[in-house]
Amino acid sequence: MNALVRATALKDLRERLRDPAALALWVGIPIVIGVLMSLGMGGSSGPKPKSPLYVVDHDETFVSKGLGLAFERGPFAELFDVSTPTEHEARAALADDRGSALIVIPKGFGAALLRDEATELELVENPAQRILPGIVEQTLALVPELAFHLNQLIGPDLRARFESFDDHEPSDTEIVALSLELRHQIERLQKFLFPPVLELTTEAASEGDANTGFSFGAAFFPSLLFMSLIFLAHGFAEDIWKEKRQGALRRLVASPQGLAGFLLGKLLGALAIAAPIAAVGLAIGWSAFDMPAARLPLAWAWLVLAMALFWCLFALVQVTSSSERGANVVGNMVLFPLLMLGGSFFPFEVMPSWMAAIGRWTPNGWALTRFRGWLERDASVGAIALAFGAMVVLIAAAFAFGARRLERSFVRN
């Protein structure tokens, strides 16, 4: 290895290790952000945050109340906090971005449904949200189909029973009678609806299996690793201006080994710090989020290469800026959009689709997508080799441009 490359890498490594506070800050900021976001989104266990869902029932029949109650049962209960304010209050709350959706049940809804007549439900969605209003919309879309099939199967028998509840709240006795009626009807139809082809055996799930649902922590952890690397790359690349300011580059330009060796040394110095940090990060991912051990070496190599790319990009920002202050401003202008769009602040899953589509083509988004893909499922050797090849080409191009710029104009201006 060229003596200047080795000496610069060693020099940078020594400087970093003697300023552990700066190092801790670069690595610590993403950890703090990650922990806060994970806590804010419910983490990997504990109660998940619910979003308000408003139901305004102008019908107030047994059927309409049943529709509202449907969102308080089963999986919906984990997502929604159902309440029944006035229509005006509910609309105002949605306008203030409080809540996911409002369902307005018109008068006569229950009767129309039982008579298989046309009726309408009004759904008002919070435009600032995407996923939860979509769930409500898809669920409501099932109502007409469900009503049709109920009418076909047991409509005439049940209609008379439901209509008797229109003028009063059903008593316990009436509810028991209705339940028995439904049971009787279902048993009658069972041989047609549920042919006993399959026998379902159930057993209590273990506690570990119970926690395998969505975990924001697990989904966000790869993003966190990339965020740490980006912060490190940004912080390390800022050194280039410092070296210019203190005259080191002015002296180095007179050395026979050229500035490309200096730049390569700085890149290797940055990687010498980032590589163990990436290894520690992956070890945490393996122990806390069940990252597959067999795929960790590949993931580590990818993280190190990603760091090289990020450093080269931020070094380019430094050497193309005409002042140290300008470099800092532009560096931050690149840093934060990259973090936000590239899936480092928020997983792609919670972004609007158009933003996620853009984000996946940012350098960090592209690298993160492959990183997560390789950890979550098998990938062909060809696909992995292609991605590594593309990464190396990108790094080489950014480095070559940066070195050229450093040699030709950055030091001399």
């Binding site: 200047l4 400087e15 003697r18 005259g247 002296r251 007179a254 050395s255 026979p256 200096f262 001399r412």
Partner: protein, 308 residues
């Protein structure tokens, strides 16, 4: 060892260096003297390869710095104005880094670093981080980083700026020691007394032009044995010039309503005469007499004092 021929460096419409030519020899200290903005650093930049000349040629030990850059740079050492040292590293680590940058390695590097630490008087602080050093110690280390690879040509760009008198004396001794060892030293400064005590040959630059060059004796001879006398006050310039002309053998270097600068032989003896002449053209409030020196030559050449 250094040959600069018709060097021109242009930045847009402004000429930073305008046709400068000189040669500097091995074992000698060649001084580039001039105020800030005179073109000294640009000239050094052209020699070190930092700045690409617009025209002219520069060679170091016979190697053209543009066409044969690698060979030329192999022989060069540079001590920039800035403190090009790393504060978190020790003096040893700094010198090892700069030695490696010029290709030293292994035992040779380590022994040379020890040697330099001893030369610059930092052997007993070799392991301490540089951030604990005084300004003068950092300057000495900056100098050491420029000589660790035993350069045959040493470029020093105002190495004593902001240094306390004690450290300055030490640094100047180090520069002399380099020349005594056969190194060709190019030294830029705007401190006249430094140039007078240190340099064997000098070039005076201002606004990119070389106003004069030669040994200290040759330059003094250009001034003759004339003293410089400054009169401050309030004057009628035309009447003052006429009164002085009547005295004979007096050169008016600069004349304005507030100041007259005159060059004349044995000025101390002629002071009453000069005061009388200028007194008839206005009011004299202040008088300064300077013996022949580089500074008085600079004033004679440029009509102004050396600016900081």
């Amino acid at each position: 060892m250094i040959a600069v021929q018709d060097l021109v460096k242009r930045y847009g419409d402004s000429l930073a260096v305008d046709g400068v030519s000189f040669t500097a020899d091995a074992g000698r200290i060649f001084g580039l003297l001039g105020p800030n903005g005179a073109g000294k650093s640009t000239t050094i930049g052209c020699i070190s390869g930092l700045v690409e000349p617009s025209s002219g040629s520069v060679s170091v030990l016979g190697h053209d710095v543009q066409r044969d850059a690698r060979a030329a740079r192999q022989t060069l050492g540079i001590v920039p104005q800035e403190l090009a040292v790393y504060e978190d590293l020790s003096a040893t680590e700094n010198l090892e880094y700069w030695g490696a940058a010029w290709g030293l390695a292994g035992a040779d590097l380590r022994s040379r670093v020890r040697e330099v630490l001893s030369e610059i008087g930092l052997a007993d602080r070799a392991k301490e981080p540089v951030k604990r050093f005084s300004g003068g110690m950092k300057r000495r280390l900056n100098f050491g980083a420029g000589i660790v690879h035993r350069p045959k040509v040493l470029l020093l760009d105002e190495p004593t700026v902001g240094v306390d008198p004690q450290s300055r004396v030490k640094l100047l001794d180090l520069v002399r020691a380099q020349a005594a060892n056969g190194t060709c030293v190019l030294y830029t400064t705007h401190y006249m007394e430094e140039a007078e005590t240190l340099c064997t040959r000098l070039a005076i630059l201002d606004h990119g032009k070389m106003l004069a060059a030669g040994t200290l004796e040759e330059l003094r001879a250009r001034l003759g044995e004339l003293d410089l006398v400054f009169f401050g006050g309030r004057f009628d310039v035309a009447r003052g010039r006429a009164a002085l002309a009547s005295l004979g053998s007096i050169e008016v270097v600069q004349a304005s309503e507030s100041e007259f600068a005159l060059a004349c032989a044995e000025a101390s003896k002629r002071l009453p005469q000069l005061l009388g002449a200028l007194g008839s053209a206005g009011e004299v409030r202040e008088t300064t007499l300077k013996r022949p020196s580089l500074e008085s030559l600079f004033i004679k050449l440029t009509g102004k004092e050396l600016r900081e």
